[in-house]
Amino acid sequence: MKKWLNVLEQNKRLQAIVIAVYIVVTFISLYLAQKSVVAFLLLLSSLLLLHFTTFSHRVKWVIGIVVLSVLLPLAASQGEAYQSYMEVATLVGIYIAMALGLNIVVGLAGLLDLGFVAFFAIGAYTYGIFATTQANNFMPFGQYPLSGESFWVFLIIGCIVAAIFGILLGIPVLRVKGDYLAIVTLGFGEIIRIIFNNLDKPINITNGAMGLASVQPPKLFGLEFMYPSQFYYVVLVILLLTIFVVRRLEYSKIGRAWKAVRENEIAAQAMGIPLVRTKLMAFAVGASFSGMMGVVFAAKQTFVDPTSFTLLESITILVMVILGGMGSVPGVILGAALVTILNLQVLTELTNWLNQLSLSGVVSIPDALSPAKMQRFIFGVILILFALYRPQGLLPAKNPRFDEKELKSGATNMVDGKEGAKDVYFNG
């Protein structure tokens, strides 16, 4: 087995053949066996396989985008389950973007945030309020709901509003550290939810516990977005953008500053890194992705109410980050995908299957033990197992590796261009 893997690692052509065969086979199985969730998941897993190939980044991106934007929807589109597959895929995308946002805060900057879903809620309500008649209650001007065309602008507004709230939260919160920070952010998350739950009086802004119904669907060139298969593409584009931004930041001066602050605050400051600004930036950037996906979520559900933004949601996103690997972008993507699919597909399918079995009298399982209800229990077990056996997560974060050739090539000035220092090294 090991030998085979070695051969595979050396040989790019072989890798190409393997992955092509895999994609074709899973594509055909899903195409033919529409009801097979397994086929759907196997096709999705081709991306994981792709991650492990040694192709260049560009090739990986191209293949990945082709699979996600063409093959997956095409293979799934042949039966009744199409929309439910796309629904799952859309939600997976939304959660991945959020987990990537949280990963900046927790994984890179090392700030434990237990109220992260608040920014998602802020994005959702930002669009929800103005894309329903709700805004008529308090806005002195304008006609509401705004048309579905405004959705695209709201993606940006939601992003900015969430970032601003990220900074507002950050300013008081950054005075505390570690466990205290976790508690304060947890409080923030709950406060935001409770405010949305109660802001129906004195002025009715959020419509309280009743929520906001019939949110305008997005419109583009007269086309209304109603189905998960359409939202899928919106989410895909935002997600790709998110991954792009996160990657760029991670390997930049800002990303290094975040990691330095995580590793040692005092030393980071001594290196000239402004602590507060760096942390606020992490909060703002992390929150902005969530805010954007909040807008999409509101439009997709066409209904927003406070129950979607509970502490359990924040914890779920954190589980995704921890499971995948804190600070690791591929890891977090995998973690978010696994947790979401486990939640939406595996557990529900398992429950359905067991129900059928009990209906036909093969076995009888008490309702309380149905897998869908054991979600939290299963999360708990997973977390404990990971803490014990794989604390780094599924795909642990990797440091950038540098090539010695690249480092050696420039032979110009040494430290601030001061002369005479060039040739003196300290090895002997």
């Binding site: 330095a260 590793e263 040692n264 400051q269 290196m271 000239g272 890194i273 480092l407 050696k408 430290v415």
Partner: protein, 258 residues
Amino acid sequence: MSILTVKQLTKQFGGLTANSNINMDVQKGSITAVIGPNGAGKTTLFNMVTGVYQPTSGDILLNGESIVGLKPHQVAQKGISRTFQNIRLFGAMTVLENVMVGMHTHLRSGLFHTMFSTPFMRKEEKEAKQEAYRLLQYVGLESLYNEEAKSLPYGAQRKLEIARALATKPKVLLLDEPAAGMNPKETAELTKLIYHMREQLQLTIILIEHDMKLVMEISEHIIVLDHGEKIAEGTPDDIRNNEKVIEAYLGKGATTAS
């Protein structure tokens, strides 16, 4: 010409006076040592100079300009850098990345350049990597550049702290017990390194050190603290023969040692 002046500096932690009315004048381009028994207040002095602690009273001047009240990162930007007694590396980052973090304030690429990966940004990053590598060569750690900082042996970690501090392009470098935990060979290398840094990089160096051989060999000026007070200062010879210092710190054997 003095580059760093400390005037009547006092620091109290509750009832404890860790530094009491310290006066100090550091000449540009000199190597100054701060010595004294454990708990004398040496690190506290460094922490005040670098903005980690705010003084209870007194003033600190860098080139005649007060730096009291500045945040640590602002002090760093003014040109004072340091290493730590209890090593504070960015453990999970690579050796090269650690040094690159030190360049933070000298890198100009903001969000825009980063997002669009502009040629300016790529050139800057490339040069930063190369500069970081040269700094590693300078302290003799270049072969370990891709290792995680926390995996390095103790002596190498101390050297890495120096390389990282140099990356900020300081005018004044504060070394807090740089030889602690080093073997004699490493200490000898360190001695050479400190000399060279002063000569080649025109640095002013202040170091805290318990290794008297190193201190006496390397420093031009020595300041002795005891119980938060300055009990003596002068050349190595002055200090070696100072009764108070012998009693408080060096012990009887020191006059013959070195």
